[in-house]
Symmetry: C2
Subunit: 406 residues, 2 copies
Amino acid sequence: MIKINQNYLKLRGSYLFSNIAKKVSAFTEAHPEANIIRLGIGDVTRPLTPSIIKAIHDATDEMASEQTFKGYAPDLGYSFLRETIAKNDYEARGCDIAADEIFVSDGAKCDSGNIQEIFSEDSKIAVCDPVYPVYVDTNVMAGRTGVFDEKTEQWSDVIYMPCTEATGFAPELPEKTPDIIYICSPNNPTGSAMKKADLQKWVDYANEKKAVIIFDAAYEAYISEDDVPHSIYECKGARTCAIEIRSFSKNAGFTGVRLGFTVIPKDLKDADGNSLHALWARRHGTKYNGAPYIIQKAGEAVYSEQGKAEIRGLVSYYMENAKMILDGLKEAGFSVSGGVNAPYIWLKTPDNMTSWEFFDYLLEKVNIVGTPGSGFGPSGEGYFRLTAFGSHENTKAAVERIKGLK
Amino acid sequence: MIKINQNYLKLRGSYLFSNIAKKVSAFTEAHPEANIIRLGIGDVTRPLTPSIIKAIHDATDEMASEQTFKGYAPDLGYSFLRETIAKNDYEARGCDIAADEIFVSDGAKCDSGNIQEIFSEDSKIAVCDPVYPVYVDTNVMAGRTGVFDEKTEQWSDVIYMPCTEATGFAPELPEKTPDIIYICSPNNPTGSAMKKADLQKWVDYANEKKAVIIFDAAYEAYISEDDVPHSIYECKGARTCAIEIRSFSKNAGFTGVRLGFTVIPKDLKDADGNSLHALWARRHGTKYNGAPYIIQKAGEAVYSEQGKAEIRGLVSYYMENAKMILDGLKEAGFSVSGGVNAPYIWLKTPDNMTSWEFFDYLLEKVNIVGTPGSGFGPSGEGYFRLTAFGSHENTKAAVERIKGLK
C-alpha cells in the first residue's frame, strides 16, 4: 500500500517564492499594462562575465573531443576546483581548510536542505527568526520540528532566535540547548552580518554544548566591513563545531548555472568519534553524481585574476543599488537596515501594516514586488525585504516610486 | 549535542564503484606498466555530439547578454524541455503523459536516491536482486531496511526478488506484499529487459496491491527488440501505480553533463487521495533549484532531428561493442546474457569463483576491470558485469585477452 511521508503534509502552504509568483501573475493578468519592477526574489540579473563565458565555451569544446571528453566527475568534485577554493577562500584568509574537506555541489539550496539528513531525527534545531525558509522546511519534512502552533506561527520543537530591532537583528544565545544551530551571515533576509567577535561567541557556545553550527555564507562576497568574517573558520575552534555552505549564485551570478560547495572539517565528530565528513561523503557518493564538468570549470574561472576583477565589478554594481535603496528609503522616512554587507534591505512596514498587506500595497500602488518578512519566520512580521539585484535603472525608478508614496 | 543519523552506520562498506576504484588504483601503483582496459563502471567514453555541443555554446552565449541571461530556472524544469520530452518520449509511443507531469533534474541517480523520501518510514520495499545499489542504500540511510544478516547478505525488511538463470533473469511476483517496488528495465547489471506482457503483470499486481512501482528506465535507448516497452506507461493502468525515472547519461553521453527526469502522473495517489506528484513538486521546490539552463538546452537538442540521428549513432557504437563481447565470450565458452537490449553483458564466473575472485583474476591476469556481480546484491554472487561503453579498439582487445585465458 502506498504510504506517504506524513511530515510533508505538515508543511505550511507552499514555498514563499511560489506564493509571490502566483500573486504577481494574477496581478499581471488583471493589469497587463503595469510596468512591474521586481525586487523580490534574490535572483541576479547581470549576465555572466567574459572569463566565465570563455571557461564554459572552452570546457564544452573539451567535451566534443574523444581525447578530452569527461564522463562522471569525481564524487566530491574535481581537484582543480577544490584546490582553488581551498587556496582562495580559506588559505588566503588564514583559515585551516584542506581541499579534501570541500564538497562541490550544484548549489547552496540543495546543500542546506540536504545536510540535515546526516543527523538523527531527534536532533533539536535552532534557527534565526526571520531566516531563509529552507532550513525549517527541510526539517519539517524530516519530522524534526514537532507541532505547528497557528497562534505563534512556531513549531513546538524548533528553537527560534529572534533577530529584530530589539536584538540589533542578531541572534542571542538561546535558553534551550540546540543540537544543530543554523546561522546565515550575512543574513538572508535582514541583510545584517555578524562581527567576528560575535560569531566567535557562537563557536565557543557550540563547542561547549557539543552542538554543530551550519553556517550559510552564501552572501560573503557582499561583506564590506573589515570586522565581519567571510568564513566561520576565521573563528578559533570552528573546525570542531562548524559546517560552512557557500554558493556561486550571488557573487558570480550562477543562479541559473548551479554551483556551490560545503566544507566539513575532518575534526568535526560526534561524541562517539563518528566523522561528519565521512557521513557527508557517503551521502554524496550514494545520492549525488557530481556537478557538471563544464560548470566546475566555470567555477574555477571565478578565481582567476580576471574572474576576480569581474566578480568585484558585479558585486559593486549590486551594492550601488543597495546604497540607492537604503538612502532613498531613509530619506522617505522608512526605518531600514541591511544593505551594507549584503544585497538585502530590510524595512519596517509603515502604519502597522502586516508584511503581506505591505506586499499588496506596494504591488498595487507602485507595481513593485518585494518579499514579505513574515515569509521568513514569525519575527519577520511587520518587515519587508527588498533586494539589490535589479538593474540600476529599475532600482532608481523603484526608489522614486516608493518615495512618491509618502 | 551532535547526534548523527545512525542508519548511515549500518551501510555496508563503501559504495561499490569506490571500492573498485581503490583496487584498480592499488594495482596501477604496483604495476605502472599495465595497460588496463576498463569495462567496469557504466561510464560513457564517446564525446558529446555536434548538435549538443552547439546547443551548449548557443545557450552559453545567451548567458553572456543582459537581454537573454537566465537566472533561477523554473522549479520543475523549463517548459521547452518538458514539452519536448512529453512529445517525443511519451506521445510518440502512445503514452498519456503531460508535460507538467515531468520533473527535470540533474540525473537519474539523484532522483532514484531521493524519491524514497516522499514515502513513510515504514514502507516495505522490494528490489530485484541483483540491482543498481542506490535503491537499497538510500533506503538503508532512511532507516527502512531493518537489520543486515551477514550470512544471507540480506536486509531483514527488504523483499528480494532474485533475477538469476533460474528465473530467466526476471523478477517473480513476491510472496510478501511490498509497498514500493523498484524495477530497472533494461536492467542494470544483468542487461535483461522485461517484455511488455511481463511488465503489464507487474502493473496489474501493483494496482491490485495499491503499491507503487519505481520504474528506472535509464537504459531505454538500448532496447532493440519490439516487444520490450520503452516506458512503463505503455502498460495499461500505469498512471495509477508507476513513477518513471529517465536519464540522458547513457543515450546522449551526459554522465558528466548531468540531466535526467522523473515522471509522476497526477493520478498516482495514496489511499487518502494525497497526490505523489504534489509531494515531489514540494520536494523539488524546497530542496532543489533546477538543472542549469545551458544543460536543459543541451537536453532539448537531444530531441532535434539531427540530435536523434547522432544519438542513434552513439547507441549503435556501444551496441556493436556489446555484440563483440557477447559473441566473443560465448565463443570462449562463458555463460553470458544481456547485451541485446542493454549495454551490459552479464556472465557467470568460471570454476565457481566468487565475483570478487573473478574481479581480481581478470585484473591481474589480463588487466581488465569489470564489476563483481555480488556488488549488486546477494543473487549477483558468481556473476560478473562487463559494459559496452569502451572504444571499439579497447573492447576488441579486451575480448581477445579474455579469449586467451581459456
